[in-house]
Amino acid sequence: MSQALRHARYVVTENPVTLAAFALFSGFVLLAVVGPWVAPFDPLLSDTARALQPPTWRHWLGTDQIGRDILSRILVATRLDLVIALAAVAISFGLGSLAGACAGFFGGWTDRIVTRVVDTIMAFPLFVLAMGIVAALGNTLANVVIATAIINLPFYARMARAEAHVRRAAGFVEAARLAGNGPGRVLVMHVFPNCLPPMMVQASLNLGWAILNAAGLSFIGLGVRPPTPEWGIMVAEGAAFIVSGEWWIALFPGLTLMLAVFCFNLLGDGLRDLIDPRGRT
């Protein structure tokens, strides 16, 4: 175990960017937990007298069109955005890898069905599929998450299928099977863990992508319902105010969103260095 730990320490210390990403990630998680208590104002409280104010000592990041405090909304929104990202990735990671692993491992009909479904999803223009789903089922939070999850499903399914296919013939799988384990157990105990590493990298990249997708949906009016604070919707609402000079309404949520997605992507690279042998210098 020490060798892996030492290796992990090497990657993190060797690569300052990845270290920063880890720190940033833990910062966001902390903010998600403690957000509502730290926020200086109630994120939903309107104050039309102080609407559209630039950053001041009272409102550090300024106020929006109906006078709500932007800093508080950003802080409180962290939890929702992380939930959207983690939920979407968890669903697509879980479903996708399971389906893929089964397809790769059992082959035959399961393989054919899963590949057909995956090809169909892949053939769809991703963003339009999301729009269609949310427009069809209504723009509740759950639908935004489901739409994002479905789009990312193919990545995991294909990766899991390829890994499972390779692993199936590997010696230790044969051995496990000979030792009397049922196919299900073999799959979960032996094949699946080995598919994990590359998919961990993909998962972290998709975390960022899930938030961006939610923001995109908000821009065309299919995002999270008002008045819930969420970074994507705040950027979409603020977009109309850039030209008229109230840059802070869109800029600060945009920067936070960028930082989060940025952190997830760098985290993905860091994880890849940790896992992918070729990456080791």
């Binding site: 769809f124 339009v128 994507g232 850039i242 760098l266 690279d269 070729r278």
Partner: protein, 339 residues
């Protein structure tokens, strides 16, 4: 020829996927909340008027019947009529497709022009400041919501600095489009040898292409770096260096050409991803592409254009994978010979 057989096999594989797309879009559309009949009956319509329109649109029939009707029309190449623009969908799509393709190709070209060198530099000096800088900048590019980048670029380069032209779509108000041969303004204006028009079209393309390009740089740079790292460590690159070949030859002719293989495969996915993300860029830059067309139709619950759009995108996706395979075959003889 060998490649034809390869193409044939790839097409055969695509047919079930396309069939899947047709079915899913049909069902997805029917699930859209809006009732086009009500929308198009106009403000003062009564229930009776709406029913008339529903019958006219054939929406009163059972779902399977509607599906059969739809597939029959599809076979005849009739994608139905868009109620928002009043034109046959196939006409709309064909006039608007070049706009989206031209924008996406320019975006991709821009991304490649920046991300490829960055990827190579990062691989040649792994762990150096260039490596980290490349990773940080390209990742930052992809971390911003695409519509926000677009609006920011318009605000800074058009509104504040005035360098970029007005975000008025493919051409400024006062120049008329070139004679449509390919539908690509850049190509058509070159064919017509009209340099002023070429410049006008290019100026309009810069900001939207930059917005799209920024979004594609990260995956390309990352893949180039990983592929180059792998190739630079390979035996034949060591041989090339042992033979004393010029550093440029070793890096470009030997290493980069081999590293391009995984990048080319990635391009297929990035291109179709960009076509999807096009929707938002078209909305910001008033770009008359198929993305914004589908979005308007989706919001108006107008089935025909949405289905037409998705089918076109799916077929572009298939054609794209085909070209990727051909391209792959051109670069790497192993694929060509073994096919």
């Amino acid at each position: 020829m060998v490649l034809a057989r390869l193409a044939g096999r790839r097409l055969a594989l695509a047919v079930p996927a396309l069939a899947g797309v047709v079915v899913v879009t049909f069902l997805l559309n029917r699930a859209l909340p809006g009732d086009p009949a009500a929308f198009f009956a106009g403000p003062a319509a009564t229930q009776q008027a709406i029913h008339e329109i529903r019958v006219k649109l054939g929406l009163d029939r059972t779902l399977p019947e509607q599906f059969l009707l739809y597939v029959r029309d599809l076979a005849r190449g009739d994608l139905g009529k868009s109620l928002t623009t009043g034109q046959p969908v196939i006409a709309d799509l064909l006039t608007r497709l070049p706009a989206s393709l031209e924008l996406t190709l320019c975006g991709l070209a821009l991304a490649l022009a920046v991300a490829l060198p960055l990827g190579v530099l990062a691989a040649v000096r792994p762990g150096s400041w260039i490596d980290h800088a490349a990773r940080v900048t390209t990742t930052a590019g992809v971390s911003l919501p695409i519509f926000f980048t677009g609006l920011l670029l318009v605000y800074v380069f058009y509104y504040l600095l005035g360098w970029a032209p007005a975000p008025l779509g493919r051409l400024d108000a006062f120049s008329s489009p070139p004679v449509a041969r390919t539908g690509f303004y850049l190509a058509d204006s070159l064919l017509a040898r009209d340099s002023a028009l070429f410049r006008a079209a290019l100026r309009q393309l810069v900001l939207p292409a930059l917005t799209l390009g920024l979004f594609a740089m990260a995956p390309i740079a990352r893949m180039t770096r990983a592929a180059m790292l792998g190739v630079l460590g390979s035996d034949f690159v060591r041989t090339a260096r042992a033979m004393g070949l010029a550093p440029r030859t070793v890096l470009l002719t030997y290493a980069l050409r081999n590293a391009l293989l995984p990048v080319v495969t990635l391009l297929g996915m990035v291109f179709s991803f960009l076509l999807g993300a096009n929707v938002l860029v078209e909305k910001v830059f008033a770009w008359p592409g198929i993305g914004s067309y589908a979005l308007e139709a989706l919001i108006a619950s107008d089935y025909a254009p949405v289905q037409g759009f998705v089918l076109m995108m799916a077929s572009i996706y298939v054609v794209l994978n085909l070209t990727i395979d051909v391209l792959y075959g051109l670069i790497d003889a192993r694929v060509r010979i073994e096919a």
